[in-house]
Protein backbone atom coordinates (compact mmCIF):
# COMPACT_ATOMS: atom_id res chain seq x y z
CA UNK A 1 0.00 0.00 0.00
CA UNK A 2 1.35 3.40 -0.88
CA UNK A 3 0.89 6.27 1.53
CA UNK A 4 0.26 5.89 5.24
CA UNK A 5 -1.62 3.45 7.40
CA UNK A 6 -5.43 3.62 7.39
CA UNK A 7 -6.72 6.90 8.75
CA UNK A 8 -9.87 7.93 10.59
CA UNK A 9 -12.53 9.46 8.34
CA UNK A 10 -15.11 12.10 9.15
CA UNK A 11 -18.60 11.37 10.43
CA UNK A 12 -21.04 14.23 10.85
CA UNK A 13 -21.62 15.12 14.52
CA UNK A 14 -25.42 14.81 14.23
CA UNK A 15 -25.08 11.29 12.79
CA UNK A 16 -22.47 10.31 15.35
CA UNK A 17 -24.66 11.59 18.14
CA UNK A 18 -27.47 9.25 17.02
CA UNK A 19 -25.28 6.31 16.06
CA UNK A 20 -22.26 6.31 18.36
CA UNK A 21 -19.56 3.92 17.23
CA UNK A 22 -20.19 4.50 13.53
CA UNK A 23 -16.97 5.48 11.78
CA UNK A 24 -15.06 5.64 8.54
CA UNK A 25 -11.51 4.46 7.97
CA UNK A 26 -9.78 5.21 4.74
CA UNK A 27 -6.53 4.61 2.90
CA UNK A 28 -5.00 5.98 -0.26
CA UNK A 29 -3.64 3.33 -2.61
CA UNK A 30 -1.60 3.74 -5.78
CA UNK A 31 -2.88 1.41 -8.50
CA UNK A 32 -0.08 -0.58 -10.08
CA UNK A 33 -0.12 -3.09 -12.90
CA UNK A 34 -3.30 -2.37 -14.86
CA UNK A 35 -6.99 -2.86 -14.20
CA UNK A 36 -7.22 -6.60 -14.88
CA UNK A 37 -7.13 -8.96 -11.93
CA UNK A 38 -3.57 -10.29 -11.56
CA UNK A 39 -2.98 -14.02 -11.16
CA UNK A 40 -2.05 -13.75 -7.49
CA UNK A 41 -5.29 -12.02 -6.57
CA UNK A 42 -7.33 -14.45 -8.68
CA UNK A 43 -5.72 -17.46 -6.96
CA UNK A 44 -6.32 -15.92 -3.57
CA UNK A 45 -9.96 -15.29 -4.39
CA UNK A 46 -10.33 -18.86 -5.59
CA UNK A 47 -8.85 -20.09 -2.33
CA UNK A 48 -11.23 -17.95 -0.25
CA UNK A 49 -14.14 -18.96 -2.46
CA UNK A 50 -13.35 -22.67 -2.04
CA UNK A 51 -13.26 -22.28 1.73
CA UNK A 52 -16.64 -20.54 1.72
CA UNK A 53 -19.42 -23.15 1.64
CA UNK A 54 -23.13 -23.30 2.22
CA UNK A 55 -22.72 -23.91 5.94
CA UNK A 56 -20.68 -20.69 6.23
CA UNK A 57 -23.43 -18.77 4.46
CA UNK A 58 -26.09 -20.11 6.83
CA UNK A 59 -24.10 -19.29 9.94
CA UNK A 60 -22.98 -15.91 8.63
CA UNK A 61 -25.69 -13.89 10.36
CA UNK A 62 -24.68 -15.14 13.79
CA UNK A 63 -20.99 -14.24 13.41
CA UNK A 64 -20.16 -11.00 15.26
CA UNK A 65 -19.17 -8.75 12.35
CA UNK A 66 -21.95 -9.71 9.90
CA UNK A 67 -24.39 -9.59 12.82
CA UNK A 68 -23.28 -6.02 13.61
CA UNK A 69 -24.08 -4.97 10.03
CA UNK A 70 -27.51 -6.66 10.15
CA UNK A 71 -28.32 -4.78 13.36
CA UNK A 72 -27.08 -1.52 11.90
CA UNK A 73 -29.17 -2.03 8.76
CA UNK A 74 -32.30 -2.33 10.88
CA UNK A 75 -31.33 0.69 12.97
CA UNK A 76 -31.12 2.91 9.87
CA UNK A 77 -34.34 1.67 8.32
CA UNK A 78 -33.05 -1.06 6.00
CA UNK A 79 -34.38 -4.60 6.20
CA UNK A 80 -31.39 -6.96 5.79
CA UNK A 81 -33.76 -9.74 4.70
CA UNK A 82 -34.88 -7.57 1.77
CA UNK A 83 -31.80 -5.48 1.04
CA UNK A 84 -28.93 -7.77 2.01
CA UNK A 85 -25.86 -6.59 3.88
CA UNK A 86 -22.77 -6.46 1.63
CA UNK A 87 -21.23 -9.68 2.95
CA UNK A 88 -24.52 -11.59 2.79
CA UNK A 89 -25.06 -10.39 -0.77
CA UNK A 90 -21.58 -11.62 -1.62
CA UNK A 91 -22.28 -14.99 0.02
CA UNK A 92 -25.41 -15.42 -2.08
CA UNK A 93 -23.49 -14.51 -5.25
CA UNK A 94 -20.79 -17.03 -4.32
CA UNK A 95 -23.36 -19.79 -3.89
CA UNK A 96 -25.18 -18.95 -7.12
CA UNK A 97 -22.17 -18.31 -9.35
CA UNK A 98 -19.80 -20.77 -7.69
CA UNK A 99 -16.93 -18.27 -7.78
CA UNK A 100 -16.08 -14.72 -6.83
CA UNK A 101 -13.60 -13.72 -9.50
CA UNK A 102 -14.91 -11.04 -11.90
CA UNK A 103 -11.73 -10.11 -13.77
CA UNK A 104 -11.95 -6.48 -12.67
CA UNK A 105 -9.13 -5.70 -10.29
CA UNK A 106 -10.99 -3.03 -8.28
CA UNK A 107 -14.03 -5.23 -7.73
CA UNK A 108 -11.98 -8.31 -6.89
CA UNK A 109 -9.76 -6.47 -4.40
CA UNK A 110 -12.80 -5.16 -2.52
CA UNK A 111 -14.46 -8.58 -2.61
CA UNK A 112 -11.38 -10.15 -1.01
CA UNK A 113 -11.42 -7.63 1.84
CA UNK A 114 -15.16 -8.02 2.34
CA UNK A 115 -15.27 -11.81 2.39
CA UNK A 116 -12.26 -12.21 4.67
CA UNK A 117 -13.41 -9.64 7.25
CA UNK A 118 -17.09 -8.84 6.64
CA UNK A 119 -16.28 -5.12 6.39
CA UNK A 120 -17.53 -3.33 3.23
CA UNK A 121 -15.25 -0.93 1.41
CA UNK A 122 -16.07 1.66 -1.22
CA UNK A 123 -13.39 2.66 -3.75
CA UNK A 124 -13.21 6.14 -5.26
CA UNK A 125 -10.97 7.57 -7.94
CA UNK A 126 -8.76 9.90 -5.91
CA UNK A 127 -8.58 12.40 -8.79
CA UNK A 128 -12.38 12.77 -8.87
CA UNK A 129 -12.77 13.57 -5.16
CA UNK A 130 -12.76 17.04 -3.69
CA UNK A 131 -11.38 16.99 -0.18
CA UNK A 132 -12.27 14.55 2.58
CA UNK A 133 -15.07 11.98 2.36
CA UNK A 134 -17.62 12.53 5.11
CA UNK A 135 -20.51 10.38 6.28
CA UNK A 136 -23.54 12.62 6.75
CA UNK A 137 -27.24 13.04 6.02
CA UNK A 138 -28.07 14.42 2.57
CA UNK A 139 -29.32 17.97 2.36
CA UNK A 140 -32.34 19.14 0.39
CA UNK A 141 -31.76 19.29 -3.36
CA UNK A 142 -28.54 17.26 -3.38
CA UNK A 143 -27.87 14.80 -6.19
CA UNK A 144 -25.58 11.87 -6.88
CA UNK A 145 -23.56 12.60 -10.02
CA UNK A 146 -23.51 10.09 -12.85
CA UNK A 147 -21.46 9.95 -16.01
CA UNK A 148 -22.62 12.01 -18.95
CA UNK A 149 -23.67 14.97 -16.83
CA UNK A 150 -26.72 13.18 -15.39
CA UNK A 151 -27.53 12.95 -11.70
CA UNK A 152 -29.75 10.93 -9.37
CA UNK A 153 -31.84 12.79 -6.79
CA UNK A 154 -30.93 12.02 -3.20
CA UNK A 155 -33.79 12.53 -0.74
CA UNK A 156 -33.10 14.81 2.18
CA UNK A 157 -31.91 12.86 5.23
CA UNK A 158 -30.54 9.88 3.26
CA UNK A 159 -27.20 8.81 4.76
CA UNK A 160 -24.47 9.41 2.20
CA UNK A 161 -20.75 9.55 1.74
CA UNK A 162 -19.97 13.03 0.48
CA UNK A 163 -16.91 14.96 -0.54
CA UNK A 164 -16.54 18.74 -0.62
CA UNK A 165 -18.81 19.02 -3.67
CA UNK A 166 -21.67 16.79 -2.50
CA UNK A 167 -22.74 13.13 -2.22
CA UNK A 168 -20.52 10.56 -3.93
CA UNK A 169 -22.28 7.41 -2.69
CA UNK A 170 -25.34 6.36 -0.72
CA UNK A 171 -24.40 4.48 2.44
CA UNK A 172 -24.39 0.74 1.52
CA UNK A 173 -25.92 1.71 -1.81
CA UNK A 174 -25.26 3.22 -5.18
CA UNK A 175 -21.93 4.91 -5.79
CA UNK A 176 -21.59 7.85 -8.16
CA UNK A 177 -20.28 6.41 -11.41
CA UNK A 178 -18.41 9.65 -11.99
CA UNK A 179 -16.35 8.96 -8.86
CA UNK A 180 -15.65 5.26 -9.34
CA UNK A 181 -12.22 3.95 -10.38
CA UNK A 182 -11.65 3.29 -14.07
CA UNK A 183 -8.88 2.25 -16.49
CA UNK A 184 -6.85 5.45 -16.12
CA UNK A 185 -7.17 5.68 -12.33
CA UNK A 186 -3.75 6.15 -10.80
CA UNK A 187 -4.79 6.16 -7.15
CA UNK A 188 -7.91 5.07 -5.30
CA UNK A 189 -9.25 6.11 -1.96
CA UNK A 190 -10.57 3.06 -0.12
CA UNK A 191 -13.22 3.98 2.42
CA UNK A 192 -14.31 1.33 4.93
CA UNK A 193 -17.62 1.73 6.74
CA UNK A 194 -17.34 0.47 10.29
CA UNK A 195 -20.56 0.08 12.26
CA UNK A 196 -20.84 -0.15 16.06
CA UNK A 197 -19.53 -3.47 17.32
CA UNK A 198 -16.91 -4.01 14.62
CA UNK A 199 -13.37 -4.04 16.03
CA UNK A 200 -10.90 -1.67 14.40
CA UNK A 201 -8.54 -4.53 13.61
CA UNK A 202 -11.14 -5.99 11.23
CA UNK A 203 -11.61 -2.66 9.50
CA UNK A 204 -7.90 -2.11 8.97
CA UNK A 205 -7.45 -5.71 7.88
CA UNK A 206 -10.12 -5.20 5.21
CA UNK A 207 -8.31 -2.09 3.96
CA UNK A 208 -4.95 -3.86 3.94
CA UNK A 209 -6.33 -6.82 1.99
CA UNK A 210 -7.98 -4.59 -0.61
CA UNK A 211 -4.84 -2.45 -0.90
CA UNK A 212 -2.72 -5.57 -1.33
CA UNK A 213 -4.97 -6.63 -4.19
CA UNK A 214 -4.50 -3.29 -5.90
CA UNK A 215 -0.72 -3.18 -5.44
CA UNK A 216 1.66 -4.92 -7.81
Amino acid sequence: MSGDDPREGLVDAAVLDELPGLRLRWALVAVEGGHKTPRGLRLRLEDVSTRFRGANAIQLRTRPVPHAYRVFFRQVGLDPDVERTPVEQLAVERLIRGELHTGDRFTDALVLGLLETGVPIVAFDEAALEGEVTLRAARAGETLPAEGGYAHDVPRGRLVLADGAGPVAVLFGRRSSAHGPHRRTAAVRLVAIAVPGVPEVHVDEALWLAAEGLGR
Binding site: V71, D81, G157, G173
Partner: protein, 162 residues
Protein backbone atom coordinates in the same frame (compact mmCIF):
# COMPACT_ATOMS: atom_id res chain seq x y z
CA UNK B 1 -74.02 25.68 25.79
CA UNK B 2 -70.55 26.78 26.70
CA UNK B 3 -67.72 24.40 26.00
CA UNK B 4 -65.33 24.60 28.90
CA UNK B 5 -62.74 22.24 27.52
CA UNK B 6 -62.38 20.41 24.21
CA UNK B 7 -61.04 16.99 25.12
CA UNK B 8 -60.61 16.03 21.45
CA UNK B 9 -57.95 18.65 20.94
CA UNK B 10 -55.32 17.56 23.35
CA UNK B 11 -51.84 18.85 22.78
CA UNK B 12 -49.26 16.15 21.98
CA UNK B 13 -47.23 15.08 24.99
CA UNK B 14 -44.13 17.13 25.36
CA UNK B 15 -41.00 14.97 25.27
CA UNK B 16 -37.70 16.55 26.11
CA UNK B 17 -35.08 16.04 23.35
CA UNK B 18 -32.70 14.37 25.81
CA UNK B 19 -35.42 11.91 26.88
CA UNK B 20 -36.26 11.17 23.26
CA UNK B 21 -32.63 10.53 22.44
CA UNK B 22 -32.39 8.13 25.38
CA UNK B 23 -35.59 6.42 24.19
CA UNK B 24 -34.15 6.02 20.68
CA UNK B 25 -30.97 4.53 22.17
CA UNK B 26 -33.04 2.06 24.18
CA UNK B 27 -35.01 1.09 21.08
CA UNK B 28 -31.80 0.52 19.11
CA UNK B 29 -30.53 -1.75 21.89
CA UNK B 30 -33.82 -3.67 21.81
CA UNK B 31 -33.54 -4.04 18.02
CA UNK B 32 -30.01 -5.45 18.41
CA UNK B 33 -31.20 -7.97 21.02
CA UNK B 34 -34.19 -9.05 18.92
CA UNK B 35 -32.06 -9.45 15.80
CA UNK B 36 -29.69 -11.74 17.75
CA UNK B 37 -32.64 -13.74 19.07
CA UNK B 38 -34.16 -14.06 15.58
CA UNK B 39 -30.86 -15.19 14.07
CA UNK B 40 -30.38 -17.83 16.77
CA UNK B 41 -33.96 -19.12 16.37
CA UNK B 42 -33.75 -19.40 12.58
CA UNK B 43 -30.30 -20.99 12.69
CA UNK B 44 -31.30 -23.54 15.34
CA UNK B 45 -34.21 -24.75 13.25
CA UNK B 46 -32.54 -24.60 9.83
CA UNK B 47 -33.40 -25.97 7.24
CA UNK B 48 -36.92 -26.60 8.51
CA UNK B 49 -37.42 -22.92 9.38
CA UNK B 50 -36.24 -20.11 7.12
CA UNK B 51 -36.54 -16.33 7.14
CA UNK B 52 -39.48 -16.62 4.76
CA UNK B 53 -41.44 -18.62 7.38
CA UNK B 54 -41.19 -15.87 9.94
CA UNK B 55 -41.24 -12.78 7.74
CA UNK B 56 -44.28 -10.70 8.63
CA UNK B 57 -44.49 -8.93 5.27
CA UNK B 58 -42.21 -7.58 2.61
CA UNK B 59 -40.81 -4.44 4.20
CA UNK B 60 -40.58 -1.30 2.13
CA UNK B 61 -37.05 -0.07 1.74
CA UNK B 62 -36.54 3.68 1.86
CA UNK B 63 -32.77 3.83 2.03
CA UNK B 64 -30.56 4.43 5.05
CA UNK B 65 -31.54 7.34 7.27
CA UNK B 66 -31.70 8.40 10.89
CA UNK B 67 -34.94 7.00 12.24
CA UNK B 68 -37.27 8.87 14.54
CA UNK B 69 -38.84 7.45 17.68
CA UNK B 70 -41.98 6.24 15.87
CA UNK B 71 -40.03 4.56 13.08
CA UNK B 72 -37.73 2.80 15.53
CA UNK B 73 -40.75 1.58 17.45
CA UNK B 74 -42.23 0.17 14.24
CA UNK B 75 -38.95 -1.62 13.42
CA UNK B 76 -38.78 -3.00 16.98
CA UNK B 77 -42.41 -4.17 16.94
CA UNK B 78 -42.08 -5.85 13.55
CA UNK B 79 -38.89 -7.60 14.65
CA UNK B 80 -40.56 -8.72 17.89
CA UNK B 81 -43.41 -10.18 15.81
CA UNK B 82 -40.91 -12.07 13.66
CA UNK B 83 -39.18 -13.46 16.76
CA UNK B 84 -42.56 -14.55 18.12
CA UNK B 85 -43.41 -16.26 14.81
CA UNK B 86 -40.00 -17.93 14.77
CA UNK B 87 -40.56 -19.31 18.28
CA UNK B 88 -44.02 -20.59 17.30
CA UNK B 89 -42.64 -22.30 14.19
CA UNK B 90 -39.73 -23.76 16.16
CA UNK B 91 -42.09 -25.02 18.91
CA UNK B 92 -44.39 -26.63 16.32
CA UNK B 93 -41.40 -28.21 14.66
CA UNK B 94 -40.14 -29.58 18.00
CA UNK B 95 -43.59 -31.01 18.70
CA UNK B 96 -43.70 -32.71 15.28
CA UNK B 97 -40.24 -34.21 15.80
CA UNK B 98 -41.11 -35.46 19.29
CA UNK B 99 -44.32 -37.08 17.96
CA UNK B 100 -42.39 -38.60 15.07
CA UNK B 101 -39.76 -40.07 17.41
CA UNK B 102 -42.49 -41.58 19.56
CA UNK B 103 -44.13 -43.04 16.45
CA UNK B 104 -40.81 -44.52 15.29
CA UNK B 105 -40.34 -46.21 18.66
CA UNK B 106 -43.85 -47.64 18.39
CA UNK B 107 -43.17 -48.83 14.83
CA UNK B 108 -39.96 -50.57 15.93
CA UNK B 109 -41.63 -52.14 18.96
CA UNK B 110 -44.66 -53.46 17.07
CA UNK B 111 -44.39 -53.23 13.27
CA UNK B 112 -47.49 -55.32 12.67
CA UNK B 113 -49.67 -52.65 14.25
CA UNK B 114 -48.25 -49.97 11.92
CA UNK B 115 -48.54 -51.68 8.53
CA UNK B 116 -47.42 -49.53 5.58
CA UNK B 117 -46.73 -46.51 7.76
CA UNK B 118 -44.17 -44.18 6.18
CA UNK B 119 -42.18 -41.78 8.36
CA UNK B 120 -39.87 -39.36 6.50
CA UNK B 121 -36.48 -38.58 8.04
CA UNK B 122 -37.28 -34.88 7.71
CA UNK B 123 -40.08 -35.29 10.28
CA UNK B 124 -37.46 -36.59 12.74
CA UNK B 125 -35.30 -33.51 12.15
CA UNK B 126 -32.73 -35.49 10.19
CA UNK B 127 -31.20 -34.66 6.85
CA UNK B 128 -31.75 -36.68 3.72
CA UNK B 129 -34.65 -37.88 1.63
CA UNK B 130 -35.00 -41.29 3.32
CA UNK B 131 -38.02 -42.61 5.20
CA UNK B 132 -38.82 -45.39 7.67
CA UNK B 133 -41.33 -47.78 6.13
CA UNK B 134 -43.21 -50.70 7.68
CA UNK B 135 -43.14 -53.45 5.04
CA UNK B 136 -43.79 -57.21 5.00
CA UNK B 137 -40.72 -59.44 5.34
CA UNK B 138 -40.20 -61.64 2.24
CA UNK B 139 -42.92 -59.85 0.31
CA UNK B 140 -46.19 -61.72 -0.13
CA UNK B 141 -45.07 -64.50 2.26
CA UNK B 142 -44.55 -62.01 5.07
CA UNK B 143 -47.85 -60.34 4.31
CA UNK B 144 -49.67 -63.69 4.63
CA UNK B 145 -47.71 -64.76 7.70
CA UNK B 146 -47.92 -61.39 9.43
CA UNK B 147 -44.16 -60.85 9.40
CA UNK B 148 -43.66 -57.10 9.34
CA UNK B 149 -40.48 -55.11 9.64
CA UNK B 150 -39.29 -51.47 9.65
CA UNK B 151 -37.03 -50.61 6.70
CA UNK B 152 -35.09 -47.42 6.16
CA UNK B 153 -35.15 -46.37 2.54
CA UNK B 154 -32.03 -44.47 1.57
CA UNK B 155 -30.97 -41.86 -0.92
CA UNK B 156 -32.71 -39.13 -2.78
CA UNK B 157 -34.46 -39.68 -6.10
CA UNK B 158 -32.30 -39.09 -9.15
CA UNK B 159 -32.72 -35.64 -10.66
CA UNK B 160 -34.91 -35.61 -13.73
CA UNK B 161 -32.96 -35.34 -16.99
CA UNK B 162 -32.74 -31.78 -18.26
Amino acid sequence: MVVLADSTRLAPPVVAPADERAARRTLRAQIARLERELGAAVLAAFPHVTDADVQARAAAVHGPRLLGLGELERVRDELAERVRRAHVVVARRAELEADSRALLEEMLRDPARHRHVRLPLADLGEHGCGAYLVRPRLGIVGRCMGWWQVKLSSGCPRPAPA
